[in-house]
């Protein structure tokens, strides 16, 4: 009886979070398009940015990711804790980051995405989510380092360096989450992704530092104990009484 009630509440919260997230993401994409097209004409609304087209495009991309995350919440089956954490991250990163990209246009999308984020997290026992975060902390570190590579790369020139950095950074971000049975592939991916950009931008100091950290921590993460992780990664845990 209690389990059914809890499951029902989680279901309702999930659908509400999905609706709020989707509306927030769509408004966010609109805000990004406005920034790209007429951002310079309404600087008091868009934050008077130096590069409105690039920032608008970034807003659209991040909002689109939030939209995909919202759509995942609408699936009838319960999400695993792992995927729920991914949805929370996909909501919270654009919600916070886009305050710096489209100015006041972000106020409403941010409120909706943050509400969706809170509902998504509150729909289940949050201890499960923290467990996922804790058990995958080294992977999160590596993914964060991948994001740093992308951040540096988007400001790089020429185009070849930019592309190498963005692709490599995204690969570093994703690599730790690949199936562990492909461990050699993951290691090679990590090396191939992190090193070329670091080599051609060696004088930036930060990119070689990030690459070395990503490789060392990444390999450590891949070699880590898998047994405990697998349980939490694959089993939906939504009931408060299961602990």
């Amino acid at each position: 009886m209690t389990s059914d009630l809890t499951t029902s509440r989680a279901h309702d919260s999930g659908h509400l979070a999905a609706r709020l997230g989707l509306v927030g993401a769509i408004l966010g994409m609109v805000a990004g398009l406005v920034q790209m097209t007429v951002g310079t004409r309404i600087p008091e609304w868009t934050g008077a940015k130096d590069d409105p087209v690039a920032l608008g495009a970034l807003t659209v991309v991040l909002s689109a990711i939030a939209a995909v995350a919202a759509s995942r919440l609408r699936t009838p089956e319960q999400l695993t804790a792992q995927r729920r954490v991914a949805v929370v991250v996909a909501f919270i990163i654009p919600a916070v980051l886009c305050f710096t990209t489209v100015g006041r246009l972000w106020y409403i999308p941010a409120a909706l995405l943050l509400a969706a984020c809170a509902l998504t997290a509150a729909a289940v026992d949050t201890r499960d989510l923290f467990t996922v975060v804790r058990r995958n902390r080294t992977r999160w570190l590596v993914s964060t380092l991948g994001a740093f590579v992308v951040l540096m790369a988007v400001s790089a020139a020429p185009a070849l360096t930019l592309v190498l950095g963005v692709v490599g950074g995204l690969a570093v971000t994703v690599a730790p989450w690949l199936p562990r049975r492909t461990k050699p592939v993951v290691v090679v991916t990590m090396l191939m992704a992190a090193l070329p950009f670091a080599v051609i931008t060696w004088w930036s100091i930060a990119s070689p530092l990030v690459a070395v950290l990503a490789v060392i921590i990444g390999i450590t993460a891949i070699r880590g104990n898998t047994h405990a992780d697998q349980a939490i990664l694959t089993t939906p845990r939504t009931l408060t009484g299961t602990r």
Partner: protein, 405 residues
């Protein structure tokens, strides 16, 4: 009442401290790694925010790439705005018609007590005029130049009437986008007599303007000492120091906002030093002054292959200052053609004018006059030349739309 027992509780007593210690060390290790990753994040953000990986690109640098796009009179101005000028203040505005370009000094872009008599402003305007005339000839215009055409308006520095004529391409014109001030170290390779003669020849058709070379070790040492002394005097003078620092653009945001001024990229630093300067917090005025003095002492004067001093008969005559600027620009372009780097070293003349306007005892004027030993000639501007140890980088420039009336 039974309390929940964990696996650790059930472990033999002798194993518990080891497990606990391992757990503690693991947490400490992870915390330390997290701190390192956070530090890498801060450094990455600084790399992104301060344009470490795309120095010399973007809107402030577009004029260097698009200066030949317009085949008409506006194209001549696009070349003019790439000229050397004091502190990259770009002290010019232009009025363009299909048959005429008029050049004006912009009083809002003066460098204050560093140039109280506006000699450097006129030199910069002369440099811009030279680029403009080279571009006009290449575009098939015969240019008729009138300097200081309006007695009642001292900011109206030149009128250039453009008449259709033959195209006259020149190597000096082609060197315009490659000419940059090089503040880095120069190698110990001497600048040949042949090159010096070619640079001297640039003054052939300019009246009242000459270039004097300082090439002997003794004269170079004496001139270098005078430069260091003048630099110390400038940074000890709060007004001159402040007026200089006002034109320093410490970060990418400032560069994109102002599109002028002196930048870290243009200081001739090694790649690693430049990156560190960009990643670390912006330096204060006093730190910037100390850096300038150190560079003057250890790089600029120590690695100069030779000094050049452009002299005129009367530094108070703006026409001679404009012609001096034209010669300086020609020399810089000709040096660029020959793979020779150049950097203006105006500390001595800055102090001469400062002493004149504050009515203090003249110290630098007699010293440099004795060094040059040319009665009847006055030093207008000075520079060092040499073969560069590393290439110079572009300086930011305001677009045509910002400098035309």
């Amino acid at each position: 009442m039974t309390s929940a027992r964990t696996a650790e509780d059930d472990a033999p007593d002798e194993q518990r401290p080891v497990s606990s210690r391992r757990s503690f060390l693991g947490r400490v290790g992870f915390g330390a790694v997290t701190v390192v990753v956070a530090g890498a994040g801060v450094a990455s953000y600084r790399v992104f925010d301060n344009g470490v990986l795309d120095a010399g690109s973007g809107e402030p640098y577009d004029p260097w790439s698009h200066w030949q796009d317009d085949p008409g009179p506006a194209g001549t101005v696009a070349a003019a705005i790439l000229a050397a000028n004091p502190h990259n203040s770009q002290p010019w505005t232009f009025a363009i018609t299909p048959t005429r370009v008029e050049m004006f000094a912009d009083p809002t872009r003066r460098i204050g007590t560093l140039d109280p008599l506006l000699r450097e402003q006129h030199i910069g305007l002369g440099c811009a005029l030279e680029n403009l005339l080279l571009a006009a000839a290449t575009r098939g215009y015969d240019a008729i130049v009138t300097l200081m055409p309006t007695d009642s308006d001292p900011t109206h520095v030149a009128t250039v009437d453009l008449v259709a004529g033959d195209r006259q391409p020149s190597a000096l014109h082609d060197a315009i986008p490659d000419r940059h001030t090089n503040r880095g170290p120069y190698t110990d390779v001497a600048v040949s007599e042949e090159i010096l003669s070619a640079l001297t020849a640039q003054a052939a058709d300019l009246d009242e303007v000459e270039v004097r070379w300082i090439t002997t070790e003794a004269d170079k040492a004496a001139f270098g000492d005078l430069l260091i002394e003048a630099t110390e005097a400038i940074i000890s003078d709060p007004e001159q120091s402040s007026d200089s620092f006002e034109w320093f653009r410490n970060n990418r945001d400032d560069i994109e906002r102002h599109m002028d001024g002196l930048t870290l990229d243009c200081q001739g630093l090694s790649p690693l030093t430049l990156t560190m300067a960009k990643i670390l917090p912006a330096s204060s005025r006093s730190a910037g002054d100390r850096f300038w003095l150190t560079q003057t002492r250890t790089v600029h004067t120590r690695t100069a292959a030779a000094y050049g001093v452009i002299t005129v008969a009367d530094i108070d005559d703006p026409v001679q200052c404009l012609d001096g600027g034209r010669l300086a620009q020609r020399i810089h372009l000709a040096a660029t053609m020959n793979g020779v780097a150049m950097q203006y070293m105006n500390q001595i003349t800055d102090r001469i004018d400062r002493e004149r306007t504050t009515e203090t005892k003249a110290t630098y004027d007699p010293l440099i006059a004795a060094l040059l030993a040319e009665p009847g000639r006055q030093p207008l501007t000075a520079f060092r030349i040499g073969h560069p140890a590393r290439p110079a980088r572009r300086s930011p420039r305001r677009p045509l739309t910002a400098v035309t009336r």
